[in-house]
């Protein structure tokens, strides 16, 4: 079993992704993005909202890697590195902001902070 997976990874699939086509991976990516979006819109906890943005980053990564495999071109994978960078930077800033806000109001509710509305 272990060697089986290893060979899959090393050799890649002989013909376009061995039956699972580009569209399969893109559908997975789109569904994951939508789930992340739903979470971002509905959850009121600030931390969970940022977790959902990470979920959307992840979905974008899957799409990029799938296209990279499809075209046999490594730029897609390179861009996942930059997605990772942006995700890390976003996590750092967002969590600092969350800590700051929590210290002010003792609450993680996004609805607590509506002064900037309109």
């Amino acid at each position: 079993m272990g060697t089986d997976l290893f060979m899959l990874a090393q050799a890649g699939f002989p013909e376009p992704m061995g039956g699972a086509t580009l569209a399969h991976y893109l559908l997975i990516s789109v569904l994951m993005f939508a789930i992340g979006l739903i979470g971002f819109l509905t959850r009121r906890n600030l931390i969970v909202m940022f977790l959902c943005t990470e979920l959307m980053f992840q979905a974008a990564g899957i799409a990029l890697i799938a296209f990279s495999r499809f075209h046999l071109e490594h730029s897609g994978q390179t861009f996942v590195i930059f997605v990772l960078t942006v995700a890390a930077a976003e996590a750092a800033m967002a969590l600092a902001l969350v800590v700051l806000l929590f210290r002010k109001r003792e609450s993680l509710d996004a609805d607590e902070w509506t002064e900037m509305k309109g």
């Binding site: 699972a20 979920l55 799938a66 730029s75 890390a88 800590v99």
Partner: protein
């Protein structure tokens, strides 16, 4: 037009997923979360199975199904779990499953980088902040939960909007990518081998084509590697001769990715570094706690300092 999945089946499946998600989102009252989760998972399963049936040729690999179901199920739980800690842990599960998908797409380096950076670093930071910012849970399930964790905001509207987005995107995707031609594995990536003489030597030594004293000839700053005929000019105790590449010699994922990153996008790395630096500075500035000292404490501290200096002066 040859659809990957019948559009009506897809939209029905999506509606099922949306309904399940909508039911599974946390509510103020006791909500039938398990039923919702099962419904959503069932919808996902229907879509995946239908996709598999329509795939040309052989069925998609079993690993593809396992990894994508785990990834999507995990992300459903990230969104619907009322406790943030569990959300974060389910997110780690999602990450690991998408690493499996990356491996299936032969992107090994990114798969392991994802485990290290996401599951190892980013999620730990999230867990830290969650632990800092939430009270310890009690035995009762809803007792320790805050009101903003229990009640979702407009679940129906958000689900309808997102599923409409998915419907539009998938419709566009399937018509858009049906005209794309996948590139067959060709000689293009082998061109990298001209810049990897030590790797070619190692592969030849492993195949016992050359001895340990042989080296690839370097002439006028260029290594004598003939990519088109897959051979290299080697010199050693036996004199100069052309040696063919071993049959399985090809650039690895990491090598190709490294060349792509440094040759094609060198400026972007600098920008990424600046972004990370700025994020670090921003995080430090934002989360710094301002220490407030009242006047008496200031006077006391100043006096202590002066006395300390005076003592030093006397000594």
């Amino acid at each position: 037009m040859d659809h990957l999945i019948h559009p009506i089946a897809l939209y029905l499946g999506l509606a099922l997923v949306g309904l399940g998600l909508c039911v599974a989102l946390p509510r103020a009252r006791v909500s039938p979360q398990v039923i919702g989760a099962l419904l959503a998972a069932g919808g996902l399963g229907v879509i995946l199975v239908l996709m598999g049936l329509k795939a040309q040729g052989e069925l998609p690999n079993l690993y593809f199904y396992v990894f994508s179901l785990v990834a999507l199920g995990g992300s459903l739980r990230v969104v619907t779990h009322p406790r943030p800690v569990y959300s974060a842990i389910y997110f780690i599960l999602t990450i690991l499953a998408s690493c499996g998908l990356y491996l299936l797409l032969s992107a090994e380096f990114m798969a392991f980088a994802l485990v290290i950076v996401y599951a190892g670093a980013i999620l730990i930071t999230y867990l830290f902040v969650i632990m800092l910012a939430t009270q310890a849970p009690t035995e009762d399930r809803t007792e320790g939960l805050k009101s903003y964790d229990i009640a979702a905001r407009e679940p129906m509207l958000a689900t309808v909007a997102s599923m409409a987005l998915v419907a539009v995107l998938t419709g566009m995707l399937f018509t858009g990518i049906s005209g794309l031609e996948p590139r067959r594995a060709g000689a293009s990536h082998d061109a990298l081998l001209a810049q990897l003489p030590r790797r070619v030597e190692d592969a030849m030594k492993d195949a016992s084509a050359i001895t340990f004293k042989d080296r690839i000839v370097e002439r006028d700053g260029a290594f004598q590697i003939d990519i088109e005929n897959r051979r290299a000019l080697v010199t050693g105790p036996d004199g100069e001769r052309w040696v063919d590449f071993p049959a399985n010699l090809a650039p690895r994922n990491v090598e190709a990715l490294g060349f792509n990153l440094l040759n094609t996008h060198p400026g972007s790395i600098e920008i990424a570094g600046v972004i990370l630096l700025m994020a670090m500075l921003g995080a430090v500035v934002l989360s710094r706690r301002q220490v407030e000292i009242d006047e008496e404490a200031k006077v006391l501290q100043a006096r202590n300092l002066m006395e300390g200096r005076g003592a030093e002066g006397q000594a």
